[in-house]
Amino acid sequence: MSIQGDLLHTVTADNISDRRRRLGKAMVWGSAALCAGLAIWQMAYETGRVSVGFETWRPVLYAYVLWAFALCAAQVIVNGEKGKRTLFVLPAALFVISLVVFPLLFALYISFTDWNLASPNGPQPNGWDNMVQMWNDAFYWNALKNMVYYVLAVSVEYVIAFGLALLLNAQIRARKFFRVVFLLPLMLSPVAVSWMIGKSMLEVRFGPVSRLIREMGFEPSFFGNPETARFMIMAMDAWTFIPFMMIMLLAGLQALPSEVIEASKVDGASGWQSFKEVIFPLMLPVSVTAVVIRIIFKLKLADVIINVTSGGPGGATDSVTSFIFREYRDRSNVGYGTLLAMVYLVLIVIFVTLLLKLVSRWMERPA
C-alpha cells in the first residue's frame, strides 16, 4: 500500500537551471574532496611521509561535518521541492550512518588485531588468533550462558508487571499516587540502584535486609554463592525495569474495548475466566511488544553487575557486556574485547531476528 505514492501530495513545478545544478554538485564534491584530501594528508603525516600535519584528526572531522551540511544543502539546490522532502530524513540518516556504520567497520578491523592499548606497537593483524582464544575462553561462554538466564528472567518480570498493570487498572482510589510510586524505580540510575540496594541494603552486617533475615533466624549471604548472587542481580534489574513493562501493559489494558469485557461479564464469566479467555488474548500483541523490547534492553545489562559484583563470584553473575568491560578496563585488550563484542552482536542479531519471526504471528490482534 505504501508504494502508491506520498501520503502528502505536493505539486511542484521546479525549474532548476543547469547552473544551479552544477553549483550543488560542486558543493558536494568539493567538500568531499577536501575531506578526503585532509584525511590522506593526515594519514601520510601519521605514517611519517609528510613532515607537516595536524596534531589530531579534528580537522578531518570538521571537513566531514562540512561535507554533511553541503550534502543536505545540495539536496534542495539540485532537486528543488523533492530535495526538501529528502531533507527530513537525510540528517538523521547521515548521523546514524556516520556514527554506526563507520565505527562498526573499524571494529571489524580491530577485532582481528592483537591491539593492546598498553603495548607500544599499535595494532598488528593476527588473523584468527582472537577467534581461537575466544573459543577456548571459558569465561566468555559462561557469560553467554548467564545471558540466557537473565533473558529467561524476563518471563517472571512479565508476570509481575502484568499483575501490577491489572491492579492499577482496577477500580482503586489514589490511582495517580500508586502510578507515580510504581514508576519511580525506572527513574533511578542503575549505578545509584547498585549502591542503594546492592551495596547498602544488602550489606551483610548493617543492611536492613540482612537484619530482617537475621531476625528470622537465617544467616544472610547475598553474593557469596553463585545462585543467590545471580538471583540478586536479576532482582535488582527487575526492580528497575518492571515499571517499564507495567506502563506498556497498562496502556494496553486501557485501550481494550470495554464492551467486550462487559459482554463477557454478562455471559457469566468469572474474573479468572474473563481474564483467560478475553483480556489475555486481546493483550497478546501489547505483551509481545513489551517483552521483546524488554529482552532487547536486557541484552545490554551491565551497569548493576559492574558496580555490585564485577562478575563475581567466579564469573557467576557476569553478563557479556560487563565481561568485555573488564577485559578492557583491567587488561586493555582492545582487539580481543572488540572481537568478543562483534561475536555478541552477531549472536544478538540472529537471536532477535528469530525471536521476531517467532512472535510475529501473535502480534496481530485475534479477530
Binding site: 540518516a93 533511578l188 506502563i247 523490547i293
Partner: protein, 304 residues
Amino acid sequence: MSAVFKDHEGDTRAKTKWWASRVAIYAALITWAIICLFPIFWTITTSFKLAPDVMRGNLIPWWDFTPRWKGWESIGISPRLIGEVSTVREEFLKRFWNSTVIAVSASLLAVILGSLAAYGLSRFNYRFGFMRNSDISFFFLSQMILPPVVLALPFLVLYKSLALLDSRIGLILLYTLMVLPIVIWIMRDQFQGIPVELEEAALVDGLGIWGAFFQIVLPIALPGMVAAFILSLVLCWNEYFFAALLTATNATTLPVMVASQTGSQGINWWSMAALSSAAILPLVIVAIFLEKYIIKGMAAGAVK
C-alpha cells in the same frame, strides 16, 4: 436496594467477597509501593545518619535517630557549609552540570533529528538505492538492538584520534545515537495520528512543506515531543557505560562519580547516601511532576 435484600444469604456472600477482593487489591498495591519506596527512603534517611545510627539499624528519623548533615557536608551541601568555599561541592556541581548539559543537549538533538525523520517517513515515500520507507524505518529502529559494548571500543580509539575523548561533545553524540531510535519510534506514532488533511489545507493556503510542518504539525505534535524528550533525558542522565569508558576527568557525569566513590572510601555510608540521593533526586522530581508525559512516551507504539 441493599436495604431490601440485606438479609438475603447470597447477597451477604457477594458482599464479603467484594470486601475480600478490595482488601487483597489494596494489600498488593501497598506491598509493592513499599518495595518501590523503601530503597529511596533508606537512601535519603541514611544520608542524614551518623556511623552509630547505621550500625544500630535505626530507621525512622527523629524517632530513633537525630538527623545530622554529616553526609551532605561530605559533598559540601549543608546549612553550615553553604556560604563557604568548598572544593568537594565544586567537584560535585561540576559533575552535576556535566550530566545536565550532556543529557539535555543529547535529548534535544535526538528529538530534533528524530522528529524530522519520523515526519518524513510518515508522509513521503523515499527511495535511497534499494531502501524504501519500511527499510529506512527498520534501519533506524534496528539501532535499538545494537549493544553499547560493540561501539564502545571503536569509539574509544576514534575519539582518541579526534581528541574527543573526555569531552562533553563526544558523549552528547553517542547519547543522541543511543536514544534516536526510541525518539523515532515515539514520534512516528505521533505523526501517524495527525490527519494529513491539515497539511493539505496548509499547502492549499500557500505554505511549503516545511512551513506546514513548523506551523501546523509541530504545535499539534508538541506533547509527543515532550514525552520523547523526557524519556531520552531519563536514559541519558542514567547512562553509565559509555561515560565510564570515554571520560576521565573533565566530562565525567554523575553516575561515574557515584560509581567511583564505592571502591575508594570503603563503606562511607552517609556520604555515599548523600551522593546517591543527589543523583536520583532530579529524576524523582521529574517523575512526580511529569509522570503523564513519561507514561505517554512509553505507551506510544505499544498500542496501535
